[in-house]
Symmetry: C2
């Protein structure tokens, strides 16, 4: 199985946009402006017979009228014009045609499905590979391409394949705000020609890609997907959110991307056998991609937990055990170290460390975390910020920021993964909101993986530890 | 089984605070100031032999020195002073003693456990009921009492019993920001005398309480808890988060509130048989309390879903079916109404309604939602705001606010529950953050139940529908 040559898809040397528009509230405008704002290095050719220029680029009446070769054509024209566009492709040595154009097989209309098949045939004989139709296409900041002008510009190493366009936007926007930096993202819609399986095989060997995420509704080519997942998962973490698992979900997927979705259990088994990690929803997908991208691999499943009060400690312990982590007690050597500083706590303190019993002892959650990480007993850790405690006290802001700065240093200095839990900023107090947002942004800027609940932190650590610690993924339950 | 008379606990006529402090960073100060800031109507007596006044109230050297009867004494003194405090109670006709005082049985120390038992004995013979020890006590805005001065002042009808203090604070703060208004909240810590079972029997008949939530780590009196849950659940929705389900969780619970936690399955069965609704974590607890408090009961499990793009629609369908809701197709009468306005969509559009195919059709998600709610086919609904779509467009703020205002009107006017999904405000764009926060706050101000993901909305609707639509809760799986 050779690795497909999709480099040029993500790094085209020149781009034309068919159906480019002067209307700033249209996709045909967005694609052109995005190339401008992402600093695309090659020539950009808007195609529009009624405009002289669009977003600062000279416009051409047709693809044929462009006086040079074009690597990638982005099509925003109606479906009825696509065959004519394809006919012009060989004359400009077009390699890739991305069809944002939709209203094809996904409508359930027979004539539209016929047209889609004809598009596939004619593109094949013209030597043009198709991404889409009915997809938003490419986002690759390092290559200067994006399907929207308003997405983050920072380039990274997280690849993401999404059958859904709005899901791709959500994952990029939400993920970026949590510290995920994306490399190659493709929204492939109906997946008529270039399939997720093919792209996965490509990403497996792509040196720019460290982590792969995928949102899949269904595929015609199950075997190809399996091979692609296996190839990628053998070399890097691959996280897959399979949607359209249920009867209603599959029905909805068919009218969204013409996908034939399948039974949930079969998919779970297939993903496991391929070595991929399954996410059941977007939140899990993001939580797992974040963990895989920002945290080192767990050394083992023994987890150290600090920073919550009593209730949070109990909830943390539940969450860890229910996600396959072992909340092992403090080793006696560590307990003796506690005894030196705080004799009254030495036989009371446990794992999770209850933050509320430390008051006045000279020991802090951060200090305990350092001792636990250094003890050799633990393979990963969860640090609850416990912000509710700070927020009730005088000088809450200073205290919280001081503690979080130190925590970020500990996390960055640790060879073990430490997931930080900072709640969902649900408060009516505007000052507290701003403070929590600032603290979260500071963690993100330091590359710390932050989760909004201990359950989500434990899920991510547990699932990733499972996938990295157990060599044969087929033996997992 | 008579209903315990705990009215006076939540509405004391006079309160003394033993261990009241002039140090603004201490619980002994917080309790006094909270009474002031919550406008407690009766006399407040700080007890402190070294202060003349605390937070504006005249201080007394001892409980005995107070020149009047005292309904409730809040104790912030060390455990070693509690027996002496109890000895002074009969002289002031004290009915309730709340022991914030901890470091008793939860430490695992035998002498401390002995002292706790002696406290129980002497309080009983003094005719004093004890709340706690090792608990933050009471929050009841309508009665002017709160365990912290900085909590929301608005009084409501949601009662909450919490074994953990910081969990109680989190639930109040987070819940309030989502539109939950609390009535009687008690953090009972070790539960030495007044038990959650007794409080549940009281809340069952309390006309001020419409919804009951509880966070329980463990109870010595399982039968009493079961009877309390059954009494309350027979009259109002009761949602229970049982923590300390796992081995590690139970170990942690023992050192937190000296609770003997038990096997998860037994608890689930017990809760179901009592007619209570189980939450597995704080997020679920809040999501269910919010749904029970803000939404009417579902007429049936047929759910109408609108407002997402294609990917969100598929994910919504999965989430609904996996939570026991049925995503039934549009009735033909409704499809004909669509045909009148948008013939091309009539045979394509489905449930969930894919927002992205409506563009240019003259139909909107809100319009479809109204038609679906009026169709007689559905028993509940989920409305995705689909904010990622708006945020990418010019005039995003105006469009989003206009659509959300109309959605809020539809929700308020509907006899069926409509859960609104507005994402978690994860974006690096400060303007978008502010906009999403403003939109969320506006929904909350209108009493609309907002969930941060479609999975959470479907969970809350599905779980609450299950509990209200199936008469014998013991038949549920």
């Amino acid at each position: 199985m050779t690795r497909p040559d999709l480099d040029r898809l993500f790094r085209p040397q020149s781009v034309a946009v068919a159906g480019a528009s002067t209307n700033v509230d249209s996709a045909g405008h967005d694609y052109v402006r995005a190339l401008k704002e992402f600093g695309f290095a090659g020539p950009v050719y808007p195609i529009n017979p009624r405009a002289d220029e669009i977003a600062g680029f000279r416009a051409y009446p047709s693809l044929s009228a462009i006086p040079a070769d074009v690597d990638l054509v982005i099509s925003c024209i109606p479906a009825s014009g696509v065959l004519d566009l394809i006919a012009q492709c060989p004359g400009r040595n077009v390699r890739f045609l991305h069809l944002f154009t939709g209203r094809l097989s996904e409508t359930g209309d027979e004539a539209a499905a016929d047209l889609e098949r004809e598009i596939a045939r004619q593109a094949a004989s013209a030597g043009v590979r198709i991404l889409g139709p009915n997809g938003m296409g490419l986002y690759h900041p390092a290559g200067g391409v994006s399907f929207r002008p308003d997405l983050p510009r920072e380039a990274g190493t997280v690849a993401f394949l999404s059958q859904s366009g709005n899901n791709a936007v959500e994952v990029i926007v939400r993920g970026s705000s949590r510290g995920l930096h994306f490399g190659k993202v493709a929204n492939y819609g109906n997946g008529l020609d270039i399939t997720p399986g093919e792209m996965l095989r490509y990403l497996a060997g792509d040196p720019e890609t460290a982590v792969v995420g995928a949102y899949i509704e269904g595929v015609p080519d199950g075997r190809g997907l399996f091979e692609g997942l296996k190839a990628a998962a053998a070399r890097k973490p691959v996280i897959v959110h399979k949607a359209g698992r249920t009867r209603a979900g599959a029905r909805s997927a068919a009218s969204h991307t013409a996908a034939i979705a399948g039974a949930a259990d079969l998919w779970s088994t297939m993903l496991r056998q391929a070595g991929a990690i399954e996410a059941r929803n977007q939140e899990q997908l993001l939580d797992l991609m974040l963990g895989a991208s920002l945290m080192p691999t767990a050394r083992n499943r023994h987890v150290a937990v600090v920073g919550g009060g009593g209730g949070r400690s109990v909830q943390s312990a539940d969450a860890c055990e229910e996600n396959g982590l072992e909340v092992v007690p403090l080793p006696s050597s560590l307990r003796e170290k506690v005894r030196e500083k705080a004799p009254a706590l030495a036989d009371w303190i446990g794992n999770p460390v209850d933050q509320s019993i430390l008051a006045g002892s000279g020991l802090s959650s951060n200090g305990l975390l350092e001792l636990m990480l250094a003890s050799g007993e633990y393979g990963c850790a969860i640090a609850n910020v416990g912000e509710d405690w700070f927020l009730g006290r005088p000088d809450a802001g200073d205290r919280l920021q001081h503690a979080c700065n130190r925590l970020a240093d500990i996390v960055k200095g640790s060879p073990l993964p430490v997931a930080v839990v900072l709640g969902p900023t649900e408060t009516t107090n505007a000052e507290h909101r701003a403070l929590l947002d600032a603290v979260r942004d500071a963690f993100v800027a330091e590359g710390v993986a932050v989760y909004a609940s201990v359950e989500r932190a434990a899920f991510a650590l547990g699932r990733l530890a499972n996938s990295s610690l157990l060599p044969p993924p087929s033996s997992l339950t």
